[in-house]
């Protein structure tokens, strides 16, 4: 295969990626878009084999591909939809790691022949790829709750981060001047450390924004690798992801009412939040499934606010059963979906779609908020932060400024909760102590099943 043919096919793959992103932006074409992207990636991979044939180390290369397939495909197939955000974070991280490794190998291979431009791009790829890798691992651990979801801030943290960043820049200069293996490995290690320090102070609720940002970073490293490896395809694909990922990060931050700057550096400026005095017991009104059923039976309009707790309890199907039952009794039912319900924007839509909830019952936040005044009962199932009035009333709390579902405007509020434990962002919710709020403790699925049977017998 000659070079022109190789470049043309690479260009075709690049066009596939553009069409893929375009398709993924619209509900009707999203699935096809993703398949077009997969097609482009497959073609791009096959053509490298054809162009460079016969490849050295072919057996090893094919073996490594198979290992990747054996790990990647089952992970993607079997993951619970509730755990999908952390899987995306992990996939992004390994992509960043791969880009950094490619840059390191190419650097070792070129040795003293490398041009200054190639060294600069290599340094960029190693730094950003390593940051993306270690940062994504931390986001994975936060989402998987292997570590605390609260911002991790330690005394002098900002100085440590600034010093690490300075060290990364210093090591970058060292690599460019010395052109040795040791400086490059030092640079990689410092970059990995910086990635960890960079993500630790980010609060749990802001993690999706960071994943999206790291995703854009990884895209840029791929583009930089494309320069060093003389591959137009990698430049196009990496730049596309870098640019669209940046826009997407901003869209997500907007949907959550966060400024990007505030998300990344918020932990340094935030005042310590007012934590309710430890041991203080405040009265809450808890009810039985029968109480809930009676309240629902005499309601005309009910809004269901699903949160991550619903998904954890696998209660999507039971909640749909309850909604169907209420509809059959002539009660108006809608689901109020917060843009970041679940762990990521759009995550809840995926989870409810899995339970075959009809699309027209799902109301976005802007549609449903004005209707809470006419709503008799708002049922909050396993959600907390997205209905927490503190986001509107208490400046200085980590979610202040985030748009919320204004369930407090409904005549009655029912919370289905496992415990009084605060939500993912770790903030106390005043609404739980409101006199019009009734709490139904227990596993969401078990509670809903009881409510359904109680409502049936009324």
């Amino acid at each position: 295969m000659n070079r022109t043919m190789y470049d043309l096919i690479g260009l075709a793959a690049g066009v596939c990626f553009i069409l893929a992103l375009k398709g993924l932006s619209h509900p009707k074409t999203a699935r096809r878009g993703n398949l077009i992207g997969a097609l482009g990636a497959t073609v791009a991979t096959l053509v490298v084999f054809a162009y460079n044939a016969p490849l050295n180390n072919l057996g090893w290369i094919l073996g490594a591909l198979v290992v990747g397939l054996i790990i990647g495909v089952p992970a993607a197939r079997k993951v619970q939809m509730t755990q999908m955000p952390q899987l995306v974070a992990l996939f992004n991280g390994v992509g960043g790691g791969a880009a950094a490794l490619v840059a390191i190998v190419e650097y070792l291979n070129l040795g003293a022949e490398a041009t200054t431009a190639e060294v600069v791009f290599t340094v960029f790829t190693v730094v950003v790829g390593c940051v993306s890798f270690s940062g994504s691992i931390i986001t994975f651990m936060k989402l998987q709750e292997l570590m605390t979801t609260r911002p991790v801030v330690f005394p002098g943290g900002r100085f440590v981060i600034a010093a690490t960043l300075a060290a990364v820049l210093g090591a970058s200069g060292w690599v460019v001047v010395e052109l040795g293996t040791t400086p490059l490995l030092v640079l990689a290690a410092l970059s990995l450390l910086f990635g960890i320090l960079f993500v630790l102070p980010v609060g749990g609720a802001d993690v999706p924004i960071v994943i999206s940002l790291l995703n854009a970073f990884t895209g840029l490293t791929v583009a930089a690798s494309g320069y060093v490896l003389d591959s137009t395809l990698l430049i196009i694909a990496g730049t596309l992801v870098g640019a669209s990922g940046t826009i997407l990060t901003r869209l997500m931050a907007d949907a959550m009412g966060r400024s990007l700057f505030g998300t990344l550096f918020g932990a340094f400026t935030a005042k310590p939040q007012d934590v309710a005095a430890a041991g203080e017991e405040r009265p809450v009104r808890s009810g039985s499934p029968d109480d809930v059923a009676i309240l629902l039976n005499y309601a005309r309009r009910v809004v269901i606010v699903p949160g991550f707790g619903l998904a954890v309890a696998q209660a999507q199907h039971t909640v749909r059963e309850l909604a169907d039952l209420m509809l059959s009794k002539g009660i108006d039912v809608a689901y109020g979906i917060h843009p970041v319900a679940g762990r990521m924007p759009g995550h809840m839509n995926v989870l409810l779609a899995e339970a075959n909830v009809p699309y027209d019952q799902l109301a976005e936040m802007d549609e449903v908020n004005p209707t809470f005044g006419q709503t008799d009962v708002a049922i909050v199932i396993g959600a907390n932060d997205v209905v927490n009035p503190a986001a509107q009333t208490s400046p200085g709390c980590p979610i202040y400024g985030m748009p919320i579902l204004e369930v407090s405007n409904a005549a009655n509020v029912i919370f289905l909760k496992r415990s009084m434990r605060p939500g993912f962002a770790g903030i106390e919710n005043e609404l739980l102590y409101d006199p019009k709020t009734m709490l139904l403790f227990g596993d969401a699925k078990a509670s809903l099943t009881k409510v359904v049977s109680a409502l049936k017998s009324l």
Partner: protein
Amino acid sequence: MDAMAIVSIFVLAVFVGFEVVSKVSSTLHTPLMSGANAIHGVILVGAIIVADHSETNLELGLSLAAIVLATINMVGGFVVTDRMLEMFKGNKKGTDK
């Protein structure tokens, strides 16, 4: 490749990237991020190229690790995105399982 051509490709690709995702509903943010994530898995191409011209065991070992990681990123990314979007499709019909 000459530098000007590369800069041109880069700048044009930035604008295409901005343009294609500028209006997307929050419902699709997660699948879109996941799909874009899978696309940067084409670093697999780069990993194969460096594995091809690896000369030492260290280089080969690192590039094989890169192939494994990039394959996981690319294939896993497309598969998980498809799974998410498959559910949206079932949703429109509103059929029971």
